[in-house]
Symmetry: D3
């Protein structure tokens, strides 16, 4: 059976409720999340074994994050402890024409200040078959980027499949390096990349091309450029997200295996309860799909898209849905009838 | 003036708030409801006299249910007391592509364990003109089914009009009998049946036919079959419910009097605040409409559909709207302007 | 730099939460608002200096209203103190086909019982360049109407620009005078009027004409009638509001300067978080637009419409958005993407 | 069996939660209460038949007050409808050294503007045995005082027992009359008066004497003065209330029947959940006690004191306790053990 | 290292908030607890390995209970799944003179309907050193009592230490057997009993003696009677609980090892945030104390009393405190200073 | 009239509600506070002019802090903007024997990273008469300590009175300097010091002496040592705080002017709603008292103690009480009666 290791930061998320603006909030809903953690939660919900690697402070707030991992049955045996603080992000939930706002307060966090020796990657990867990381970790600090590189190399040596969600965040990358200085080496080990073509190009130092994802003829050559730059690459996927408004999204996806383009039907997602983490839900679905339906790539993609859609109906960072719920929706039932 | 008696179970409803999943809930909103109670509430709101027949335990939770009846001006003089517990249903409110979930915890309830002698139907029906029951009560236990039969027979003898909402729930009917063993006799006394043609066929032991409710030509003969099986039948109605998503319903309705098909315009219902109880709102509206507009069947149906639509905007099981509000909407104003 | 004075009543607003009906509410959300105050808040948010003139009681509830003004950086140096009570309005927030309900409880309020001498208009208007009032103030009591007339005359003498939002409320005007007895003189001093043509005609004693706002040919002459009746008039604007449901509005606007009709694109607004105060948001946006873009009337109108649309996503009476947010939407971005 | 009629104002109570100050409150808890209504609730809880006489506006807020009466099984058949508004009182709940604050907003309420003909006292008192009023009603307006006098006279003529809780509120009595101009006639018909000796003296036009309620020797003559001024008087009672802090009260009581002083043990009440309405709980307990234990005056007093103590543990205006709970405490068990 | 197995029912706890009565509650706080689960949580918090044995239904509510176990790091590998429902208890939290109320709704629960084969005790006890059960389990149903006996016998055979909290609940024991028919055999295997002397006597079929726990002379012989009836007994302990009011408890404890009486200082506990589960906190503390300080029985008892006191400050069923917090209080610091 | 400048950090305070532990919290109450800000709020509430000097980030969270200042009428014209984040402290509110817990997350805050040039002290102190700082600011970072020294020197040069609350926090002072290396110079300019004798000794590099504050004979010489070390010192004050439990404090205070000891009566404070900021309330009261009653030192001290006691009843960091409320309590009325 597969065991998937994911590596990244878990943060305290402080969000306003009922579409209130920050200035109106007298309380913040407190939960815990982060891209790579969210992927691990998805996979745990689908019944896979996971191990989440992060570093949290030895205080009550760090302990809360750890309890969240345990409750969700995400493996936590290799969490490192220390540092000064748990990173935070503030979330103001938009509606209609008003978009949501994220204010990061994650600098100087325990993971951002990780030190060599915090993680024994050889030991961590024992028994693991897959390693997932994202473009956020190398963006938060130089030491986190270094750890990420160590991890990717160790995973590569041990023969794990490696996936990366590019996750470009312009408000990060403040420590003096550009993505194009850091990401190419990291991505060179990856078997699966999730991201826009232009984001990938940007991170790999190429010029943007503004691709048309509905044009299945031009897509292969655009994706092929990535295969050339990333010698281990087997699959590239892109989440298609047409934002009608903060409350109405249209979600699709494209998967390419170097030979063929797979395209998922666009689904209407309205209303949006919470769209944060929907990309992570896609990623989690894609990993599950590739592991489970790997001879049926269309099915793998459809599973990812269905998982992504369902995430928009779930409050919080991660996708609290079961395998059965995603499968039911994947096979066409999205009418939202009462189950009783 | 009419006095309508309804008979069924009132439950504690424990629902998550703000579309949370069960596992996310630290609190449950507590309210009280049940199909036949909800019908009584609708009728009381429209100004009719009602009497709700049920059995509740002699503890604080039973007392809460009784206070709810009183507050809503539903007649409660013939409520029976005793048994071990008030039935419960848990409700997780869905959104968009994720449907709502109901978890029943109603076995062994006071009504499910009702005993002969709990209800003196002759006395209960004194001064009453209408008796309403639904397919839920004979589904919860053999003794409840027996009481239901006693009630229907007594109502028949005393010349009351009898209506039934078929309300098939596959998770009930666990006590060893099938609907087709129990419902035919019960329905044989009914003057009004609300339900899908296929549900009615199933309960009466006929094969399903998957009717097309837009085809007004084929409908009469399909409904006519019910008139043949239920000798007292005067009206059959079907709620049309096209579920675009958990947050968007399209609601219509059909009424047939053995001669003519009446069809209501489909109305868009979005967003859905709470769709539980919308069928009961239709039923309540239909009874009101038949009593009030009985020479104008189209109007009776339109009233039922308008009531059903408005229910979707009301939190909780029952339809907290006034006669004026339903009439206003029935006559076309559904623009939701501010009244000030 | 401009300083805008607005005059009117600030009320305690008690609203039900999560679309509950009044009878379901165990708590009321408490906030403070009122048409002319809301305009001042908009302008303060856009960086302009404002002064809000009102009268509040010398008790804790009046003090809360004053603290709200201060927090929002609305000028409060000329607030009058005294009288018995702060006016209240109760708000039940609708959804879908069920409209919101407002119950006024504002009679006998401090402003309704204002006395001569409460406001020294000459002193108040020192350094001011614009005076805004609305048709609500002369509707609440004779003494408020008198103060309004005093204010308008003083502003006129001192050469301020004067704007009026007609804001007809049929549940007010209970003190014995009709709008047509009071409004013509008040409006005769105004440079800017916001309102429907028919509301303006009604208030000025003319018959309604049910104009077609999409017919740009017939509009000029209909608006011209107002220019004839109001000798100081420079601009008339109308908010176009097509109510699909309580949760879905389509918002546009028309501006006329006596020469040319400017028409804004209709924007879809769904879902509606709170539509109360959206007219005030339009008014605030229009004043800002006229002050800032006054050679570009289309831009001024577009700003007003964008502000109005955004208000529908904000809980509470006033428009808690920044200049940048309105400008971003005005220039076309209404996709509500996450900002991070 | 007894039927008790009480007459007075029911208000919307808006209170801050968790000891917040007014300025901190973003929500107000909304409930309904008022002295004479609270007495009726107590009596209904003890199983007696009641009828509450008041006037409420014909709007949604008035309807909420009526639904509260119905839920609590208080008789409401003789409620008058009309007028402009339901009175309000705002409550800031103190703690420890900080006392609670009440801000009245009840002028111009439906009851304050009651008109002759609103109440047909003869009809109202049919079948009734007891009439209860309090010193609040004649304090709110001249027309309310007039109605109170009409009621008292009618009750006297029809031979009902009449009780009055003096309830002096210095912030009321603003309509131009002093208590001593109004209360003597009203009290002359009363059989039971609840109040401090000094309050009674003040209302009857006598000088205050600052009595020592522990001195059972001096008390009889001080109370006897009341018997002289009120020819129908049979019982006077005083609630003893030693306020250690807002969170800690010591409660006792004195009852005098013109012959003998009865004194109840002082009980410690801490913490105080809500002390508003504790005097009404005493009054309700006293009426019940006099009706039920009338040969055992000590028991009647003890019941009143026990009811008063329990009220301090109940949130809201009225005493939501059962007969059994008061009796259990009256007979000594105040240890607050878990019942399971 | 020790591994402690506990066996019993976990229930959904539905409690009113802020001292509201049941009838006032619009929401219930939802948590999960039960005597033997609470003991396991205490021990897990102190760093010991635990395994909790229970049976939960295979529905969402059962899944919530399981997630709670996992989050709290209580072992759940041997939980049985099946049956109809998770038991419930409703809790109304009292204050001052008004005690809390518990309404049980636990009949027909998954554990109450446990069947032979649900638990493989031999396997469960592998690696375990201690088994804890309580008098609640044999009280809920005959099959639960049978499972309890099987468990006790298996634990005995395998040489585990066995502890029992007598936990007499008069509202249970409804299935036709008396405690004295069931408990003697069960208790005969126990090494540690927690309970009142009179409760123990009652369960063992002896007459009550109303012991004076302050009289250290008479106590030994009273406890010795238990040693005679329970041949494996090593320690008996009694929680002393003097209830000043629902908000103020005085807590002490007695421990007897057959030779010597150990008595803990009475501690003042006020205010009481939540006293449910305080006995379980004592039990958990006692097991920890006996395992850790077993040559120092006074210390073991003091630890149990300190844990019990702290529990009163924690909302919910179980004792969310750390080893360090209990030890700090045990050694005298109960001043509740701010830690910063 | 006086204008008081205070300088320090304002933080976001995230606190659990209803005595929940961190791990139980699904929401955090969000407010803003900090020692020197709290002092400014107190003084603003008493009607004095204040100016609060701090640095906040240019993001939404910083804007929230600024809006809080404005609402509370604290001067904010000299606030500096910039840096990365607003400092945070998490607060778990204890009860009874369980103390409250504070977790600091304030490193790297905007104020901690203040740079030379952020504050133009000469300009800031124009028109000011008093400068207040506390021992927290020099504890957070070297640059903050430097700014503090600059401020103190500038205030000294300009002839302002300078006060300091020692406020020792052992969890701060992490940047490499000890209090005794930094505080002596800072304190040498102060006219008023608030703190324990031992804290003062520790910060000034002297050995602790464990003083007995009830022994008025030994106190003068102990305080005199401070006068020797701080040449500008005029008053030393100590808050006496006897912690019975987290919910029950006894509060007193000592003031010494170099000649005479003033001692305030100990007041019982129970229950404690929120004790954080009670020292700041004392400080604010003392500054007000010294400014207002400066010939009556006993009165100044009594005012400070009364303010401190009242703060314990107020939720949040700062003391939301009026001058009248403190004076009323100062003169003896602490019975917490209802004001109505």
């Amino acid at each position: 059976m597969s065991k998937i290791v994911t590596f990244g930061e878990i943060m305290l998320r402080l969000s306003t409720e009922r579409h209130l603006r920050f200035i109106q909030a007298k309380t913040f809903a407190a939960s815990y999340g982060g891209g790579e953690f969210n992927v691990a939660v998805s996979l745990a919900n689908y019944g896979l074994e996971t191990d989440f690697i992060t570093k949290v402070p030895e205080n009550d707030i760090g302990a809360c994050a750890v309890k969240e991992m345990r409750k969700l049955k995400v493996g936590l045996d290799n969490v490192a402890y220390g540092g000064e603080r748990l990173g935070i992000y503030y979330l103001e939930t938009g509606a209609g024409t008003r978009g949501s706002k994220v204010v990061y307060d994650r600098s100087n966090s325990s993971l951002a200040t990780t030190k060599p020796g915090d993680f024994d990657w050889k030991k961590i990867f024992e028994g693991a078959t897959w390693f997932h990381w994202s473009g956020i970790t190398p963006a938060i600090s130089e030491s986190a980027a270094n750890q990420c590189l160590e991890a990717v190399k160790a995973a590569h040596e041990l023969g794990l499949k490696i996936s990366c969600d590019l996750n470009y965040r312009s408000k990060l990358w403040k420590y003096g390096k550009q993505p194009s200085e850091v990401m190419p080496e990291l991505l060179s080990y990856s078997h699966v990349i999730l991201g826009d073509i232009d984001t990938a190009y940007f991170m790999l130092g190429k010029n943007k091309v503004n691709p048309n994802y509905q044009d299945e003829k031009s897509l292969p050559s655009l994706y092929d450029a990535l295969f050339k730059l990333c010698p281990n690459l087997e699959f590239v996927a892109t989440t298609l997200r047409y934002s009608v408004s903060a409350s109405h999204q249209r979600i699709g996806g494209v998967l390419y295996d170097g030979k063929q383009i797979y395209n998922a039907h666009i689904k209407e997602v309205t209303p949006v309860v919470d769209r944060v983490g929907s990309g992570d839900a896609f990623m989690g679905g894609l990993i599950y799909g590739l592991l489970t339906y790997n001879q049926e790539l269309q099915k793998a993609l459809d599973f990812a898209v269905a998982a992504c859609c369902l995430k928009h109906t779930i409050s919080g960072d991660y996708n609290l849905v079961t395998l059965e719920e995603v499968e039911k929706m994947m096979t066409g039932d999205s009418t939202g009838k009462v189950s009783r």
